[in-house]
Symmetry: C2
Subunit: 297 residues, 2 copies
């Protein structure tokens, strides 16, 4: 299979779907929707929704069944970037080469755009017309999976742990793994779970995909850390070396670059092993794992 | 009926339920849950969850059926207060006589505590064990009602419109009504809708309660505006006269105090009229309407 083509065509489908879903309510000013769309359109690999689609397809489900939930995941990811970039958090003026939301608009609008995107994700996940062929009990389970992965016990908890660890000299390996499995890993795992469930996975398939999701969630973050050391600013769209400048604990800083690369390679191998019972319909998941570890940006 | 007793006993039940629901996931630091609980415990009248309970009871439902959703509404209300108080928004150091979240903790923690509370609301609303006697389709509808009321087309949209109007000399009456129906009214209406639906309301009952909800949502905000002029700082727990100092458009500033009071009284009368088909089980709703308009804090 051609993974580049798969990623590109699904990215386009996701972006088209997101535009269709973001019709929004009546507002007095356009600024809120402008800020929300500005950040949604700022690009990115759309890796979470693509993983949801690939997991759905791996168990024989049609991708359109998972599309609204896939888009909801991207809305949540986008809100988290807007809030992470705020002056009180990472204070980033640029992301993917574009001004961050609070720079392009203002801080209040950025906070509210993030809040509105998070809320919109749950509005989409509970919009009846989008889940007509889904058992309502599964629909609710999916909402719960995503809420758990995004909140205090998942992404938000990981983000606070990351902020509190920043600049601290005592960040040890368990802390680093906690941060990564929560800040990035939880939502990636949720994407795969949700794709599998909406695709009609049986228990055995779901367990295997959860294993896969845990492994590539961590691999994704290690690859990100490595790129921050080895990439250049232009390719990765943010300042290379910014983690080090901030005194951020990363896999390369704790393990060394060579060991971090080995760890990523091991996780890649294990993630592909976890899919051994699946046929060629899981090839996109296998290729995405390779892409995640070997990407240059 | 004794409305004070009703409000007090339900407030206690809601606060007990919230504590039980906020068990949370594993975290590295306690700060996130401490900040979330700090703001949840900061008090307030718990008017949204009480309205959900009263609406449920008005249609003959048991209050325990609506309790988790009622608590979720209070989590959303609390998150909105945390974010509204931030330096980039209203920049308030105190609320209800206590330091606001970003003062008691820090700005980053406050942003994340708000995010986590919003997410926790949807986690609670989709926690299967909490809705065992509820049709999953109704459960999903309730999630959607709350998401719509809270997002860009509701509360968040109203908050941005409010911020943009602040200090502007050209705020007219339609703008003021837009701000109020969205910023405050939408979630109050959602509380009543959700209580009615989980209580098993038929279509006619639901329509009447929606009417009631629209009327008291607006009455609530007018009463708030009036209190800001006539109350004293100690009773209302925030600086009296703060709206005027900020050049905020309010009912008294646009209509005059006398006219604003008349408008609140008319809304109260109409809200009670909207309940004319209900028996004494709707007395709490009738008394809450009176309480909302006549309260001194």
């Amino acid at each position: 299979m051609n993974i580049k083509k798969y990623l590109k065509s699904n990215k386009a489908l996701i972006e088209e779907s997101m535009t269709g879903l973001m019709t929004g309510g009546k507002t007095l000013t356009d600024n809120l929707h402008r800020a929300m769309n500005y950040s949604l359109e700022a690009g990115g690999k759309r890796i979470r929704p693509i993983l949801a689609i690939a997991a759905c397809e791996a168990v024989g489900g049609e991708s359109k069944k998972v599309m609204p939930a896939a888009c909801a995941l991207e809305l949540i990811h986008t809100y988290s970037l807007i809030h992470d970039d705020l002056p009180a958090m990472d204070n980033d003026d640029f992301r993917r080469g574009k001004a961050t939301c609070h720079i392009a608009f203002d801080e209040a609008t950025a906070i509210l755009a993030g809040d509105a995107l998070l809320t919109a994700a749950f509005e989409i996940l509970s919009r009846k017309a989008l889940f007509t062929n889904i058992d309502p009990a599964v629909n609710i389970e999916v909402i719960n999976d995503i809420a758990r992965a995004s909140g205090a016990g998942g992404m938000v908890g990981g983000q606070l742990a990351d902020m509190e660890a920043e600049g601290s000299k005592s960040v040890d390996f368990p802390t680093l793994e906690f941060i990564h499995t929560h800040k990035t890993g939880a939502l990636i795992l949720a994407a795969i779970k949700v794709g599998a469930k909406l695709g009609g996975a049986n228990k055995k398939e779901l367990n295997a995909l959860v294993k896969y999701g845990e492994l590539i969630g961590l691999a994704f973050q290690i690859a990100d850390d490595i790129l921050d050391v080895t990439g250049n600013t232009e390719t990765i769209g943010k300042d290379a070396g910014s983690d080090e400048a901030r005194g951020k604990a990363t896999y390369p800083s704790l393990l060394g670059l060579r060991e971090a690369k080995l760890r990523a390679a091991e996780l890649l191998e294990a993630s592909i092993e976890s899919l051994k019972e699946f046929d060629e319909k899981a090839d996109p998941l296998r290729e995405i794992a390779r892409f995640i570890v070997n990407r240059k940006s």
